[in-house]
Subunit: 155 residues, 2 copies
DNA sequence: GACATTGGTCAGTGTATCTGACTAATTTAG
DNA sequence: CTAAATTAGTCAGATACACTGACCAATGTC
């Protein structure tokens, strides 16, 4: 899962670089989601799998698209989808528009996991808002959305 | 490398959850640092290794501490430090205070890489500040620093 | 219809991560 | 001050994940 390379050397006396400052709460959110899912019985999937699953659109998404969005190779994406499929989180159906392709869709088990994840996200966001104040929290979201304009490779 | 699990399902019509919003620029920063290091000839190390190396303090740090801070097992940390050591980025010296322990320190090649990374961080931060405006950029840093208070496991 | 492109798989390799078991040095208790 | 518990680190083995290269089949282009 994840990495956090940003600046080299732990200065640790304040003034962390922004990259690391972004990573810390991100990681905390991820850990919370994972813990909650595991506790709810969804303990047989991994961060990498979730990363891919998260990208599946409501009508299904092609493997190649998933790979591109998750910034991994299609081989890796295929590997991860295999796992997800075997665990019942997703399914592959033929793409009616293109006989080469198949659409990866959320399956029953996946659909069951999503509300669990969503509720944890809401819970954590509420905690953050309580600590920062509503205004600051809203500003944070807005600033990050703006930042996305120059940092998101496909959006 | 790193993950980004935060919310499940690509809603994609705005309102991304904050976890993912944090991850996007983090990832962009990381990619930039990596690309710059590779171009400068430091192409033989990985994100995971950098994650550990980043935590080494000025007087060296014990393996166990590195593991804890990077949130990995000490075995994994040992594995990564082995690689870093063979590539000349770090060295292990006996800890004078404790004969069980050894201190991992930045070696010559590591010391050479740090300024390269630092300059990219500065560059990227400047780009972000240009896009967001100075005030917003300062607010972002401040808010993230506050958020760290409740999301950083050891700090 | 030939050629290039696109969607996906197969095979092979290296990296990262974990758990469990172990040695050695240090610290704590009685 | 010895005995027990803790701490620092390693060894061994297993699994997951990520990449490259090679390939096949369907689609699109000229």
């Amino acid at each position: 899962m994840s990495g956090e390379v940003a600046g080299e050397q732990a200065t640790d006396g304040q003034e962390l670089n922004v990259g690391l400052l972004l990573f810390i709460p991100y990681r905390a959110m991820e850990d919370r989601i994972f813990a909650a899912l595991a506790e709810a019985g969804f303990d047989d999937f991994t961060v990498a799998q979730a990363r891919v699953m998260q990208r599946i659109g409501p009508d299904g998404t092609r493997l190649t698209d998933l790979a591109e969005q998750a910034q991994i190779t299609k081989q890796t994406a295929g590997f991860l989808v295999d796992r997800l499929e075997r665990a019942g989180y997703v399914e592959r159906v033929p793409d009616p528009r293109d006989r080469r392709a198949r659409l990866v869709k959320i399956a029953a088990r996946g659909a069951a996991a999503i509300p669990v994840a969503e509720s944890v996200v809401a819970e954590v966001e509420a905690e953050w808002a309580a600590h920062l104040g509503k205004r600051r929290m809203a500003q944070l979201r807005e600033t990050l959305t703006r930042l996305r304009e120059i940092t998101d490779p496909y959006a």
